[in-house]
Subunit: 251 residues, 2 copies
Amino acid sequence: MDIKEQYTGSILVIGDEILSGRTQDTNSNHIAKKMTEIGINISDIRVIPDNKEIIIESINELRKKTDYLFTTGGIGPTHDDITAESVAFAFGVEININQEAFDILKDYYDGIGSTFNEARQRMARIPAGATLIDNPISKAPGFKLENVFVFAGIPKIMIAMLENSIKYLEKGKIVHSKSIKVNAVEGDIAKTLRLLDSEESELKIGSYPFFNSDQDFGVNVVLKSVNKEKLEKSVDKFKTFLNENSMSYSN
Amino acid sequence: MDIKEQYTGSILVIGDEILSGRTQDTNSNHIAKKMTEIGINISDIRVIPDNKEIIIESINELRKKTDYLFTTGGIGPTHDDITAESVAFAFGVEININQEAFDILKDYYDGIGSTFNEARQRMARIPAGATLIDNPISKAPGFKLENVFVFAGIPKIMIAMLENSIKYLEKGKIVHSKSIKVNAVEGDIAKTLRLLDSEESELKIGSYPFFNSDQDFGVNVVLKSVNKEKLEKSVDKFKTFLNENSMSYSN
């Protein structure tokens, strides 16, 4: 079953440091949570290397596949920061120094008494037609080109840019959800979940076992629906089953 | 530049709970780290939903693209656990109850006094031709079919399955790496990094800015090479530059 009237999104995490395991990506989790809150359904997350051809190919695939594409990483001043030029290439537009970005950066570096050198000026290169996204922390802006949002990789900056981008997004129908922590193993509730799932077309059920120790294990069951009333009915049914089978649970 | 004589790998994280942001994926970081240690270069990480068609398509793409494919998630007993049957479909092989897996699970549930019910028996369904991967924690095995390794999503179990799979992997040439924490902003070292990068074909340089506060920021520079001697030479050159420009750093 599908939950209708939702927008879709994808996330492209650009960076060798994620692929080598050096850095744990937390940006995509942050974006995904935020999008879920506003009814945008993330269908793809990809991590790819700092490679221009791969970045271009991935951008062109995902910007057509989903309503919104969010990229993180690769917009700093060094040789491996090639996201902006890859976005320009993907859209077939030019990339030059953007005067607005240049002025923001020049003011910033002048203000802190640092040289606005060639490497830093690279960060003012923005694809033609893009709208800048404010970076309140280190100033070098992100940007939005059509449905593609280009964010920094540093989590603190990424989060700020994401906040500054919410205004551009169409919000979908909110998915209501209810989480129930069941003190049982998945195998004991699987049949019932399958039944609930087949009975109600607007319902989506996730079952997430956890296993902290021999004493502390169970399943987090998450029921979701855009229809709040039907969701509550299904939750009641499930709790009735748990009670009838003497399984303990908590909300 | 490419680092030669390395094997490649990809990771497919299967699960709606990651895409909704409910769960932070840590499995792919763990796999990536481990593979880097043994000279297998992860080139793709993807997160996809619990959707059979998408799982099949992704498996078929990635198992051909890279030497090894590791999947996580979707091998439990519930209705949304569809990874095993998707793998079977992707390879065009049958999936039936595997006697070895059945016996392991039956022994386990008999031993703890639980019913080995229909839902649990699903976990004994393994694609034809696959080799089981031991799960010392909750017993339901993972499996390996040709170059595809199918792991559980629960991190503790995933880690154990990964450990039990290392013996099947060809190890590549180890990449040596050296990390230097520079107390400067990226823009001040970008030109030098670019120069170092162009001078030495076997060298790969990553530059990872961090920004904890106005007082605590800088760049972690990571130099990598399969050639240890050349790596050390480049590290020395970089440190000389830092010293000449009075930039402080630590290893």
